[in-house]
Symmetry: D2
Subunit: 404 residues, 4 copies
């Protein structure tokens, strides 16, 4: 283990990563560089800096990555309408490749040998961090303490912290949530605790970002979302940056009880797990983006996107953001979005996102003169349908004549 001299640690400032910080120094005899990012998790970063300083860290990286996260990761993913297993909007998954990228950049800047993270050996996040790091820097070392040490219970961690003089916010530790949580601009997630019983309904107090539909306002909220090339660029006519789009939609969506989900999902490491998620902005974005596409995308382009979507979503879920196959799919998806321009009007009401209108001056493929139930003045010759059906039926008829 002596060949590791400097490690860049994804550091939150919490108990776990503080213990990891000390454990790395002790176990590997190496220097630790901390990296803490604001990706919209809604927590102050300065306490993490103070804590790292207090623990003697010399190189401390603190970054506000919210705009990069929204612009280069979340928005491209939503162009694909990505949903994992019919339900999950990939809120944790899509944040990991950005962290991996930044860890590698700091390794390069600081001359470190390795990265370390606080993800466990049972979950998807370890895979996402490490596949990203290896893809971007193939010979980087990776230290995943949860796969190595024996501090496998909260008591042991606390004891380690005490022994090693790691400052623990006991007030906070005492009222610690029974859930394992993760948050960023796209969502907050909950796992563990009573959720380990898939029959148990989550308690109302668990949810942090949204009110329940029951407590949401009795009046609906309408929003107009302007799309350019598949991305939301303005809300109610006001140009808005990607991160601000998400912050605003999280706030308005959460206030209207939107974006809760409660699922059993299949992890890449092979087990099923139960997770609850609040994704207010994402829920609105997905519905609105689909509506925008419904007006502006060619049918076969849309269908091809739909057929490839589950695979694209799995790639992101499984940690392959930086893989050539994800990039190749993204080329195709981005190319499809050139015409996804216009406005979608949505109505938010007690957990519902309702599309109330969609228009595109430049790119609508909806042709009222053809679609109309009224007289279309010859725009469409109904007799064409007879031949269309006859030839589409031909193979079925030949088979039927053979007695199939």
């Amino acid at each position: 283990m002596s060949d590791i001299k400097k490690v860049v640690l994804a550091y939150s400032g919490g108990l776990d990563t503080s213990v990891i910080l000390k454990w790395l120094e002790e176990t590997y005899g190496c220097e630790v560089v901390t990296f803490t990012a604001d990706i919209g998790q809604g927590e102050e970063l300065e306490p993490a800096r103070a804590k790292a300083e207090a623990m003697g860290v010399k190189e401390i990286y603190i970054d506000d990555l919210r705009e990069e996260y929204a612009r280069d990761f979340v928005f491209p993913m939503f162009r694909a309408n990505a949903v994992y297993e019919g339900e999950y909007l990939l809120g944790t998954s899509i944040a990991r490749p950005l962290i991996a990228k930044r860890l590698v950049e700091i390794v390069n800047e600081t001359g470190a040998d390795a990265i370390a993270h606080g993800a466990t050996g049972k979950g998807n996040d370890q895979v996402r961090f490490e596949l990203g790091a290896y893809a971007l820097k193939p010979d980087v070392k990776v230290i995943a303490p949860w796969r190595e040490w024996d501090l496998l219970s909260r008591e042991k961690l606390m004891a380690y912290a005490e022994t090693h003089g790691i400052p623990v916010d006991f007030a906070k530790a005492g009222k610690k949530s029974p859930y394992s949580m993760d948050a960023n601009l796209l969502h907050i997630s909950y796992e563990g605790g009573i959720l380990e019983d898939p029959w148990a309904e989550p308690e109302e107090e668990m949810w942090r970002w949204s009110v329940s539909p029951e407590k949401a306002p009795d009046e609906p909220t309408y929003l107009e979302l302007t799309f350019e090339k598949g991305d939301i660029v303005a809300i109610d006519g006001r140009p808005t940056s990607p991160a601000r789009v998400m912050e605003y939609l999280n706030q308005v969506g959460g206030a209207n009880g939107i974006g809760r989900d409660d699922i059993v999902e299949n992890r890449y490491v092979g087990m099923k797990s139960r997770g609850c998620y609040e994704t207010p902005a994402g829920t609105i974005m997905l519905k609105a983006h689909r509506a925008m596409e419904s007006l502006t995308l060619d049918r076969e382009v849309a269908h091809l996107k739909d057929e490839l979507m589950p695979r694209y979503a799995s790639l992101i879920y499984n940690g392959y953001w930086w893989s050539p196959e994800r990039r190749m799919l993204q080329e195709m998806i981005d190319a499809s979005q050139a015409t996804v321009n216009g406005v979608v009007r949505v109505k938010l009401y007690k957990g519902n996102v309702i599309v109330a209108g969609r228009r595109s001056e430049t790119d609508s493929l909806f042709d009222e003169s053809i679609a109309t139930f009224e007289d279309d003045a010859g725009a469409y010759d109904q007799k064409d349908a007879a031949g269309f059906i006859k030839l589409n039926a031909l193979r079925l008829r030949i088979a039927a004549r053979k007695g199939r």
Copy 2:
């Protein structure tokens, strides 16, 4: 046209198909057999019989097909989680193959030469009826009056009716909905009128099967849905037949503001169209079925189903229910459902269908002892993850070393 002696007409008893009835007799000099089915559209059938008799029809078929429809068409489709273009639950599409099948059966029973239907030349239904008929009886003749005649406005139809002594319920005709509607156990649909402007929000009065979320009760409704082989077989513990499942869920769902959808869709004949749908039962069934699968299906089986679903949905949308490729896919889908057994608890509240629990005594693949965040007593060796990641990363690392 002299070679057609007898036609079986899909007859609703309304103005359009009554005019068609007469027009067929006049134009083809043929006898007409009427076929009217209860597939849950919520209308009495006896008036159709009376009207057919009044118009001199000698062979009148009236069938209650609700159970067959739910059991053999809707339920198998829901095993696939079929959704067209991310939104549409295929409420019209899935009824057509049953009508086609029954038309062909009556052709065989009555010695008729042809079938006739009242679908227009612009829509999907003509395709669905005719592909079904050709697949089941390859040499049947098909008459689609809307593609042949010139009665292309309501006025002309009314005039024809008057001229030919067709009884018109002027009271009903006068308050005729501005929308083109279609209903069966799975949904009621609305097209035309102001919906031809995709920016226009539908009026509240349009909706017939559901209250608005705003008017739904302030208290949620909980249901327990029991699945066997992917199908709902009991509600709150009471064994329930397929059609009754749908009727009950339509009623409870509609009362809770569930199942409205408003979309722009791509028709098989090549145009985009706007449609609004109320699908209360279907919306609940889809959500609950996915939840049941999430607990009981293998990951890769579920993913394969997800990837093939859009194609399966397109097949049904496009009228290929009776095709060999749909049947082949169904074999696979049905095979996957052997283990989809258990109970899902759903909460219905003002437009929301919320999964509140899922369990399966016999077939759950959720293994708490492995998934737990607590000590798992060695059920899962976290160190395995290191090798798993290393080998999954290998190709990415080799490529990165080559400078990709």
Copy 3:
């Protein structure tokens, strides 16, 4: 029919299109512009010009499109390894969109209203011509005489020619091949005649571009093909243009008995048909391109290409070259080819194309130090495989424990 004043006709100079020329003038009272292209079919174009002039045509277009055809149509298609139904290299299909494009360009240049072609109503070519034309000029008129007239036998055509003073090369007509043939740089095809019996083996005399394997030389021929971004750019080290690549490989391949195929295929219009094809260059190109990719493409990129290939091939077969979905797929395919650079050595021998070597200085992902059966000095840690297998097996083990 009076609204058509000028038609651009795809004109070969043969009997069929000469009759069409006259028939168009007579039937539509319109002027006819002829368009004749060299796409490598191996026939002189000047006789077509002379014949058009003799028939009084004023606007005659004669183009050598061989390089454009190879560069912008054939080569992009081969980047996808496109094969229809496991066998057919799409030799006719890929030529049609170029003809359609050029017809539309000439319509624009000459102020014509319509295009006309000599494809029958039973085949795929009519679809390919017309979908292309409509996609590029949506309001162009299309005249397909074979779908309109009653000159449905050779005798009637000959009679029409005689009546209308169309010069017929009776010598040529007399020894006319019993097959319907089509040729361009990519292939020559044969249909009809005894081939309409799928049990019948084609006569040796049918084949025109290749010797039989039996008659091919007893010595093999080796070639080195240099690829850049997936395209062959040099043969045996000599830079070679796309059309010349094809001409040269056709010649060498044909001389070695390479590229014959004999299949039953499914037409887009719904019937099965029997076709025989000679595709010497294409057969070599496909084998070599796959070999080049095997060394330089990432595994998952290659697999994704393989899974999408049948759909891409169907798009081309069915005439959707100019569709947005084909273009979208092409974006992805082309993006994948950036690294497909290097040299493939092939051995041609009596019908066989054998890969004898492949190398890429810049882009090989073959890592001998890892792949070796000898000691790899730690480049690969075999112990990683245990964890890899364990986690990949986890879902299977959980299921097996539940008795599945």
Copy 4:
């Protein structure tokens, strides 16, 4: 390691597995049961028995699994036309799940705790053996000595053998092939040695099952292969069992220079490797099966099979034969084969497999009366094609009008 009392070893009788046998006894202090199977590798089994006896093994299993292998593994796979990465017929991959199954059966019969195999930690076979074993007996232990020991060179193995009194056939060891080889009814494979350079052409002496095309007879061989439900059941009219079909086609195919392949492939463990294969029977079977399907399968069924084939092939390549997703796909594939009945005539000549005819009295969908280039007496109305094209073009035209 003390908890393993009895191990079932996949035993060939060669040096490697003999060393493993001894090493297992020494390292684990356990009893070893040997299992040796005839799956068509073309070697006597009795020497393996004698050697096992000589080494003191008490429980020796020797099975002739050729018919089971051909019938239940190879034939079902060929129904899918499975080819990995466009070239590889999966000759090694498909044998592994049978070995895994039999190992588990013997574990159950003998009360053993574990299985052991001689596959290295770099290859695919370890994965295939172990995924199979875990899927069939989730708590079986697996010992893979190559991942554990340090006998990583031939010299060390030989030294170990000498030290432990393992009889080595030095004559055989001395003239040992420079290649790593594997053989069964479906193929013989070669890896390693000079093949580790992908530019190097294999030496003619390497190949063992086939003559070179150069040395094959100057006269072609014709065969008639009768298919029932997608499987070959007779050759030249003589009913033939699955294993005999393969043995016979290997012999005739090899004699005609058929079935050599030389590729770079992507292993599941993440690296590229070079392999050469001789697959005479498989090459003939694939070509003939496709020809049989071309006549008897519906177009869309065939296309769906083609699109899913690469995934099915990857599943087998990667070792997922016993997974639920492979079984689900197999349900669909097998269902498609009900009509794949008839006869294919093939011509074998110097490396070429040429389809010379195909017929099916009962299931041909080739309809000469429709496909004919001659007058079809109205079987097909060419005018239908106009409407077919018009509606297929509609979305393209609408888009073009919008300037796309």
